[in-house]
Every structure is written in C-alpha cells, then in structure tokens.
Subunit: 136 residues, 3 copies
C-alpha cells in the first residue's frame, strides 16, 4: 500500500534545522512496517539525518559546509542569483534531496541520536515543499 | 506492484548532463502514485537532481567538484587507472548512486527547477547502465 | 510484500570496509525483483557503494575525506566528544545513511565493480546497527 502527502515547511533561516516533529505531525498514522520516502522539491535545499541533541553540531554543519563550498569564487559563472546561489546548488547535490527511512512498529526507526534535518542553503529560501511517500 | 527495467545511457563526455527525457522515454507508463528508484551500476559516475534550466549551473558543478577533489594529489595511492579515476570514485560516493523520486498523478513529482543529472566523472566513461525500479 | 531485519555489524576500525557478504549472509532469501533499503542508525558512520576490488581505493577514500573535512579546525564549536567527532558527523551527512539497491533475479543488482561500504568515521565507533528492508 502507498500513501503520499505533500508537506509545506515554513520559511527557515539559512542553516540546519531539525524537522522531525514538523514532519511527523503532518504524516498519517504510520504502518507497522514499511519505508518513509522524503523528497524535497528544490535545488538549493536538502534533507539529511544527523545529531538531534546539541545545537552546536548544526552550527558547525553550517560553517563547515560554507568553508567547503565558499561563496564568490572567481571561477563561478552562475552568479546572477546572488553569491549564496551556486554554492547552495552544490551543497544540495552533495547532501541530496531524498531520504528513505525505515518504519518499524509504527514509528520511524531512527537511531537514538538521529534527527531529520532541513538543510537550508539560501539566505532567503522561503517555504519548502517535501513529498512524503509511505509504502507498506 | 513492481516494474523494473535496465536503461543504457550512451557515452557522455565528462561533466553534468540532464537525462530526464532520456530516462522518461525508456520508462513504461507510470502509475498514479508510487516511487521511481534509479540506481547507476558504476563507481565513477553518479545520479543527482539539480537545476534544469541554466547550463552554467552544470558547468560550475563540474569545476567546483574538480576543485573539491583535485587530480594528481601526491598522497593518492590508487593511480594506475589515470589521474581522473580516484577523484571520480570519491565524487561518485559523495553524490551517490541512487535516487528515489516520488510519482504523483502518473508523473515524476519533481520541483519546477529540478532535473535528473548524470554526473560523469571520467574523461571517457563510456556507456552507463541504470536500473529503474517503479513500485506502486 | 515487506520484510525487515536489523543487522548488527561488529566494531570496525576507522576507515572504509566492504560489507556485502556480511549483509547478504544475514538477509533472508531475496525476492525475484524488488528493492533492498539499507539504513544505518548512526550519525558518525555512513553507507556507500564503490569499488570492490583494489583496497587502495578504500585507503584513498579515508585520506581524501580526512583532507576534505580536517580535524581540529579552530572554528569548530562541537569539540567535547573528541577531534574525530564533528568531522565524522559532516562526513556521515555527505555520504548519507541510506541506500536503495535494486534486486533482480533474486540477487542484488550491483555493477561488476560495486560493493557496499561501511564508512566508519570514528576512531572507536563500536558496533553499528543497520535496518534492512526488502520490498517486492
């Protein structure tokens, strides 16, 4: 069986944000066993899973990724949408738009320390749409 | 229900290439709702999703990824298949071999600006095989 | 149909490790056609697919990823779990926790040179849990 909904996230500031509870609030009751596929319909934001406790991890994600793909490099050619745009595309591709998370006993089977991140790479990304597909 | 086909892409030059229409042309009719899983059977090419309009984005992908994982670093040990080989493995792993894309109303439910990229990291990668699995 | 098991990997040293045979040994008989989803329940280890033959590829993965995300950068703030911890989180997010691999003719439909990697980014990561979900 397949269930599918579209989730609209409110605009988040640039950075890494825990969105588990926002996502779970909008999902239907989960099946006993299955997979939840999350897919973000954008090219300058991404979905990841990482540490859900200490906010300093998410701060370091933002600064390390900025260091890895800096803005305003001389050799960039796609520059007319702002200095944050092309780095955002690269970061989004490195992290990826999709996650497939196992469902067990009616719940997302994440590890103790795992949370779902919205990775917002634009200064003003606006609302973001995620398609959630559950198969069981 | 599961349907599965193998798609052979023609040899593309090194770089980032939009392959949506090539993929969709070879797929069977899509179900109303489901997931399309794409999996590339290679270790020096990858699949990604990003901006489908301005070709300068794809040019910058190529140059930024080359800058991130340069060729000919002194400390590389796996060098006998050419200077583009080991960087291609790393890039392929960073971007990843698989994508799971939602299907809605009989179509791939991509965002307006999203297209599927073949990321060809070898100078002469040759034909590339993708397994496409649709479940509904 | 969905089948799901949890696999516990023994503690591996920091680095990249082929785990195909370990995974396949613990899986039930595979269906004729389907998908295997693998999901690692940790935030400082990841799953990838890459070259299964020459061990020097896996050695270079370790050194290139260490070069990409170095330890002990001055600007890191999440430092109290050891110098390998924050880089491990970033690497895990870049590579990703999940893989969806096609099953064809009762076998994982990997390319000739593809193997499944456990990417252990901690010095002492301990045992690692993977949820394997097969749908067919």
């Amino acid at each position: 069986m397949i269930q599918q909904i579209e989730i609209t996230l409110p605009a988040y500031p640039r950075g890494y944000h825990l969105i588990d509870s926002e996502i779970e609030r909008q999902l239907p009751n989960l099946p006993g066993v299955g997979i939840l596929n999350l897919f973000i319909k954008h090219t300058s934001a991404a979905l990841s899973i990482n540490e859900n406790a200490d906010p300093s991890v998410r701060d370091d994600f933002e600064s390390i990724m900025n260091n890895l793909v800096p803005e305003n490099e001389d050799y960039y050619t796609h520059v007319f949408e702002g200095s944050d745009d092309m780095p955002a595309h690269i970061k989004a591709s490195l992290i990826g738009p999709d996650l497939s998370i196992p469902i067990s006993k009616g719940r997302l089977n994440l590890g103790t320390w795992q949370g779902v991140y919205l990775c917002e790479f634009r200064n003003r990304g606006g609302k973001r749409k995620i398609v959630a597909t559950i198969y069981s």
